[in-house]
């Protein structure tokens, strides 16, 4: 049986590249490590170095090695997206504002109940939005709040992060600040007097 590096084609880097491209989903470091038999298993350090080299090889290519939440994957860069996307007739799906707002609330405020979401949005959340998000495996029930009715608490998944090319929730754009109202207190009475003319 051949061993790592017996030929240039089976160098650690080449094996990792083939494994990443053969996998149907991002591959974690643990899984990458497991494709090697115990007696030849490279250290995490060696794996990391080979991945780094592979990433550098891709610097001038239409591909990139990307680490997302559930592991590493190779993807076509945005640079070549205009051509790649012409492979498919269908335009990528657009999502409604209601769905995106619900998803944003779950992402930033998890764990969160449907009631919490409705309170912030000021409207009821339609069931099919929750269902769509669950079917896409972007959100999941992470528990139940200990109040009457035991409403489900939702959180986002690794698949959500993978889909949006993120490694962790920390990579999400930061939320806008909430401004304090006290600063405008003095003008209050003047203003109301005018308004009610």
């Amino acid at each position: 049986m051949a061993r790592i590096g017996d030929t240039p084609r089976s160098s650690l880097k080449c094996i990792l590249e083939a494994v990443l491209l053969a996998a149907d989903e991002p591959v974690s470091l643990a899984t990458l490590s497991r494709v090697f038999k115990e007696e030849e298993r490279p250290s995490d350090n060696d794996l990391g170095k080979a991945l780094e080299e592979l990433g550098e090889d891709y610097a001038e290519r239409g591909l990139e090695l990307k680490e997302v939440a559930s592991g590493f994957r190779i993807q076509a860069r945005e640079d070549v997206n205009q051509w790649v996307s012409r492979l498919w007739e269908q335009r990528p799906q657009r999502y409604s504002r209601a769905l995106l707002e619900t998803l944003a609330l779950i992402a930033y405020r998890q764990p969160i109940t449907r009631g919490d979401i409705e309170e912030v949005r000021g409207v009821s959340v339609r069931t099919n939005i929750i269902r769509t998000l669950q079917e896409r495996e972007w959100i999941r029930v992470v528990g139940h709040r200990d109040v009457p009715g035991k409403p489900a608490l939702f959180g986002t998944t690794k698949a959500f992060l993978d889909y949006f090319n993120l490694t962790s929730l920390d990579d999400l754009p930061s939320l806008a600040e909430i401004k304090d109202m006290d600063s405008i207190e003095p003008e209050l009475e003047l203003e109301t007097a005018e308004d009610d003319s």
Binding site: A104, V120, A176, I178, K179, M181, E185
Partner: protein, 275 residues
């Protein structure tokens, strides 16, 4: 409800800089007032309502399009505009989501509280009646923004595509389970207890080295089915080794796994693998 009593643009005309938002476009012309005699397809208003994600969104729109400070909303003005839209929609028997009516009530309440004289002295504790609404508007706005940011993030299948290579004969490799020695010994104890071998068969207590030797003897006979008896004894192993080998050969003979052959008295003894 307060909302229905007030009509838009009946008394107070909005300030000039506040361009009214068209609620429909008819033949390219934005429509800000609803002519009493004009038929507007209900669909147009539906589109208008669907453009908003609820009363907070509509209020935010009214505030933002006039460049008003969210922290200092002219509540009477905004209430009047809001009520205007609500009334308009109700006039058309448009079925409004309950949330819009609730908001109308909230606005009316804030407006009336703003009119009340505030008790002198304890303005420290007295909150601006608008405070809760302002908090909600800001909270909603930040998530409205977050949703837009989310929409702008690179997206799988839209902004990038995951690369994959073809794999020929993709077959599943079975990885054997780990076995714990203790687990195996537990199993052995169970089976021996079941078979009552612990008590009945003292032969079971023989040293395992005999068993091991038995295996190695047959193994050697596999290569050479006919071997001299003394060949199996190695003096380097000492007395214990000799005893182990001897016991192993006896046991193998007893179990009819090997034959021990002596063709003539005092002659060479052979260990033979049965044919």
């Amino acid at each position: 409800m307060v909302a229905t009593t007030e009509q838009p643009d009946t008394d107070n005309n909005p300030p000039a800089q506040q361009a009214e938002m068209p609620f429909a476009i008819v033949q390219g012309q934005p429509l800000t007032q609803l002519p009493k005699d004009l038929y507007i397809p209900p669909d147009a208003l539906e589109v208008f309502l669907e453009a908003f994600e609820g009363p907070l969104d509509l209020l935010l729109y009214l505030i933002r399009r006039q460049n008003l400070d969210i922290l200092d909303i002219p509540i009477a003005d905004i209430t009047r505009q809001y009520m205007g839209y609500i009334a308009l929609l109700e006039d058309l028997q448009f079925e409004l989501a309950a949330e819009y009516l609730v908001m109308a009530a909230i606005l009316a309440e804030i407006k009336s509280r703003m009119l009340l004289p505030r008790p002198p002295g304890d303005d420290e504790d007295e909150q601006d009646p608008r405070a809760e609404l302002v908090r909600r508007l800001q909270e909603y706005e930040r998530f409205k923004q977050a949703a837009e940011n989310l929409d702008d993030l690179p997206r799988d299948g839209r902004d990038f595509v995951v690369a994959s290579a073809f794999v020929q004969d993709q077959h599943v490799v079975q990885i054997p389970p780990e076995v714990d020695l203790g687990e195996m010994l537990d199993a052995l104890r169970d089976v021996l207890t079941r078979a009552d071998l612990f008590v009945s068969l003292q032969v079971q207590m023989e040293p395992l080295s005999v068993r091991e030797r038995m295996t190695s003897i047959i193994d050697r006979l596999r290569k050479n089915p006919y071997m001299e008896f003394q060949y199996f004894f190695t003096p380097e192993e000492g007395r214990m080794g000799v005893v182990v080998t001897f016991l192993a050969l006896m046991e193998l003979t007893r179990e009819r796994i090997v034959d021990i052959i002596q063709n003539e008295p005092m002659g060479q003894i052979y260990v033979k693998r049965p044919e």
